[in-house]
């Protein structure tokens, strides 16, 4: 279950729900996760449709980037007025 807090922002994972089909999934997600004004957009995706990295593969997926700080745009000054980057 993914929530978008404002139009234009990315959807973020918020949690899980149980359901038998799409309509029940979106209703259950609404009743569990959007009761307090958390968002304006919502996706619910079946867990088996998500491809995840096996934790045992962490090293080869994530570690090679550790020594490549030049990939971060930290050497640029952000222009004023940019809010979401």
């Amino acid at each position: 279950m993914f929530i978008q807090t404002k139009k234009g922002l990315p959807f973020k994972h918020a949690g899980s729900v149980h359901a038998f089909d799409k309509e029940m999934a979106i209703q259950n997600a609404r009743d569990l996760y959007t009761r307090r004004g958390e968002g304006r957009g919502m996706w619910v995706v079946p867990a088996d449709a998500i491809v995840a990295v096996d934790p045992s593969d962490d090293e080869s997926f994530f570690d090679p980037s550790n020594d490549k700080i030049y990939r971060h745009p930290t050497f640029y000054e952000l222009p004023e007025g940019i809010k979401n980057m």
């Binding site: 729900v17 149980h18 359901a19 309509e23 029940m24 209703q27 259950n28 609404r30 009743d31 569990l32 009761r35």
Partner: protein, 251 residues
């Protein structure tokens, strides 16, 4: 000609919302699974909010110094005016579904009309409530179809609930003099209009759920005069216990 009594109208509608809210609150911790349990109490809180707003306004219009809490917790059974359908017990999940579904179809129409009236309090309460009630209708229609067109047992239970609750439907379209004045002033659909709206929607959904409605149109009524089925007294005993045991308790 009799004068229009807006306070009475608000009390009747507020009482129906309040009693529905209480029936929903009784489902807390008894839902068939966690998500639905939370949904049930959520919907109950929506109805409680609508009841509170309507009873606050009713008390103000009445002008006798009573508060919404006085109305909710200090009236005996014979001074309650909720529709008989709303007080019918949570016999099983099928009864909860059919009762709240029938009422949701009705309340969406009631609130749609109220959202257009030239009274800021009423139209404000109705506009807010309408957003909530449209979801109630969506939620209970989903269960109506899912369980009606489900297993042999779920179908049977749903059909039983429809059969047992059907005699309380006629009261939704009943009118007394005050209702007729409210219709003239544009606060309400007439009983005939409401019956036609309600029946069209319900018959189509019932058919989708592979259920049928009883042929008899016998209707048990009485709530407009404060006459209730045996169930309301038990509900009020529980609901009003704290105020009766510790009058005006503060927390």
């Amino acid at each position: 000609m009799e004068r229009l009594d807006l306070s009475k109208f608000c009390i009747r509608l507020g009482d129906s919302c309040l009693i529905m809210a209480h029936r929903q609150s009784e489902m807390c911790s008894k839902g068939p699974f966690l998500e639905e349990d939370i949904a049930q109490t959520n919907l109950g809180l929506d109805l409680l909010g609508q009841a509170e707003a309507l009873l606050i306004y009713a008390a103000k219009l009445e002008g006798k110094g009573r508060t919404a809490d006085d109305l909710a917790y200090k009236r005996p059974e014979r001074h309650y005016y909720n529709l008989l359908l709303t007080e019918q017990p949570n016999t099983d999940f099928a009864f909860v579904t059919v009762r709240q579904y029938f009422m949701s179809v009705y309340l969406v129409k009631v609130f749609e009309k109220l959202a257009t009236v030239n009274d800021e309090v009423i139209s404000g309460v109705a506009a807010k409530g309408l957003k909530e009630l449209k979801y109630h209708l969506r939620h209970y229609k989903m269960w109506l179809v899912r369980l009606g067109d489900g297993t042999e047992e779920s179908h049977q239970r749903m059909q039983t609930a429809v059969n047992e609750l059907w005699m309380f439907v006629g009261e939704l379209f009943e009118e007394d003099d005050n209702d007729r004045l409210m219709v003239e002033e544009g606060y309400k659909f007439s009983g005939a209009e409401m019956k036609s709206y309600w029946t069209d929607i319900v018959l189509s959904d019932i058919q989708e759920a592979t259920l049928t409605v009883p042929e008899s149109d016998y209707a048990l009524t009485g709530s407009k005069k404060g006459i209730h089925t045996e169930y309301l007294g038990y509900m009020l005993t529980e609901m009003q216990y704290l105020q009766r045991a510790y009058p005006d308790a503060k927390w």
